[in-house]
Symmetry: C2
Subunit: 325 residues, 2 copies
């Protein structure tokens, strides 16, 4: 993991994070003409390592061909976050992409991105890149995400936020809200995968022996490794995600989507419960150069999580086609 020093950054809110840093990691070699760059932002609470499943020899994101940069969300615990920076303040998707742009241009002196790709909140950053830097981004592939957080998605996030915050009553920050994080994880579990995923007990394919085992050792275990302050600030980022909520677009989502010049591929899990494909259909009405493809199956949002080979192969195959065009 590398850290790019941003210095003091002023956020959309007007607040300043002092000595801010972006965490990132690169894979492969930047070509001399700097024309082989793929940017791949992280998702909600994901670390760099959680993104790596989509990178590999023979895959679309092949480090022998491309210079792939995984860049971390502000607040993910590796970039500047409540857990590592006392001057922390909530950051928007716009704030993130502004700072990522500095990493790309000031640090790497890259002028073109062959592809920006990301899952979930990573998809949100992907759309944002496409509309803020339309002449810089050649292709985008947001998968299982949206350009603006839908109201129902907002409500889902209210649920996990509230469950966690029950454990912060009368708290001091030293207390780790482990019970709250476990509840947060159990609420999340119902949203992450679809109804038939649970009916078919497909968690067995992930090596779990019972539903309870899956809830504790997959869901709770993952979030217990995270700092609750980071979990909460990223919910804020997610709930407030809107690629048009910035001076360029003044909340005109249609205009923001229309401004994207990149060849666009939306990959949408058929059974995603909080980024339902219907919402992506609404986006398609404004996108100028886009295809929308359903990822078939019952893995729900986690069709994009790199844990089901069939879905991963599907995403990889479509990324290959996109990169060939």
């Amino acid at each position: 993991m590398e850290l790019f020093n941003l210095g003091d950054i002023t956020l959309q809110s007007g607040k300043v994070i002092q000595n801010a840093q972006l965490a990132y990691q690169t894979y492969g070699t930047l070509s001399e003409s700097k024309d082989n760059v793929i940017l791949y932002p992280t998702w909600y609470s994901g670390f760099i390592s959680d993104n790596e499943w989509l990178i590999g020899p023979g895959m679309a994101l092949d480090p022998s061909k491309y210079f792939i940069i995984i860049v971390c969300l502000l607040g993910n615990g590796q970039s500047s976050s409540p857990s590592n920076n006392d001057s922390w303040s909530h950051a928007t998707v716009y704030d993130n992409v502004q700072q990522q742009h500095r990493l790309i241009t000031e640090h790497f002196h890259i002028e073109k991105l062959k592809l920006v790709v990301g899952w979930s909140m990573g998809a949100g950053q992907t759309y944002q890149w496409g509309c803020l830097y339309p002449d810089m981004v050649e292709r985008i592939c947001p998968f299982a995400g949206s350009a603006r957080t839908a109201p129902h998605n907002f409500v889902f996030l209210e649920g996990i936020r509230s469950a966690l915050e029950v454990d912060l009553q009368g708290n001091n920050d030293d207390k780790r809200p482990e019970v709250g994080i476990r509840a947060f994880a159990r609420v999340y579990a119902g949203w992450g995968f679809s109804q038939p995923f649970y009916k078919q007990e497909l968690w067995r394919q992930l090596g779990f022996s019972s539903l309870e085992n899956f809830l504790t050792d997959f869901w709770e275990a993952f979030f217990l490794k995270r700092d609750h302050r980071n979990l909460l600030t990223l919910i804020w980022t997610w709930q407030n995600a809107d690629i048009s909520n910035n001076p360029q677009f003044n909340k005109d989502l249609g205009a923001a989507l229309k401004s994207i010049k990149a060849k666009t591929l939306l990959l949408c899990p058929e059974r995603d419960l909080y980024f339902p494909p219907d919402d992506n259909k609404d986006e398609m009405a404004h996108l100028q150069n886009a295809n929308m493809i359903i990822i078939p199956g019952v893995w729900g949002h986690f069709a994009g999580g790199g844990i089901n080979k069939e879905d991963t192969d599907f995403i990889d195959a479509h990324l290959k086609k996109l990169l060939e065009d």
Copy 2:
């Protein structure tokens, strides 16, 4: 509200609730031949008054024609419940229907039910009636429910249970977990209505001025009126709901469904997130005398909650047809 004294009742678990009572209320007049009876059990945390929207002059459940009995779930706060009976122990759907049968036969001396009808957990009791007393029940209409709680539904309930229980750490029973109930309600909010319901802001039709207002004044306000012990025991009942988990059927759900002789009408909200119509389709493979009809629209589970006129009219019209046959 009337109370039927059950005396000491032994549950499936072997435990005894002392001086148990079933709360109920009747509407209309029992005919001399006792052939005009409709039984209408309550749903998760619902009171008698919460069932009344489906009863009225000119409606299918017309008190001028039928003798309608609303009977309360054990644990709902009106029947024996943790909040009003110190000997309380978790009750199953089977336990409930066993005791309701005593109300019908011992108290009212009724031998035939023209219809059993219920929403959600009320639907669960409706199926149970059909298979435990196949020669007594002429028609059943479970709406937005299932004969056995599906695994995903179980996980949804884990979420609300966990959120509430965060507030019971190191507790004594005197402390009212208000923050936990509010979190519980916010988690529930995402499940109760569909994604497009929130996108279309249909809560405005219910008189709320903002999403936050809907979350606090509809969701939190409803559950804050309930006792948390009752909320938790009814989650247990729901999570363990299986009409075949009893000596008659030994967990053979197909056999339990096959044994239902009543004319059966399943009404299934198109967008129900925790009782999805796909699960009812699975039931249809075993039901002998059944129709399944989708309630179209975006109100999700609450299409069966009596708060949207269009859905209420739809349900009422189909109940009329069912009663005419």
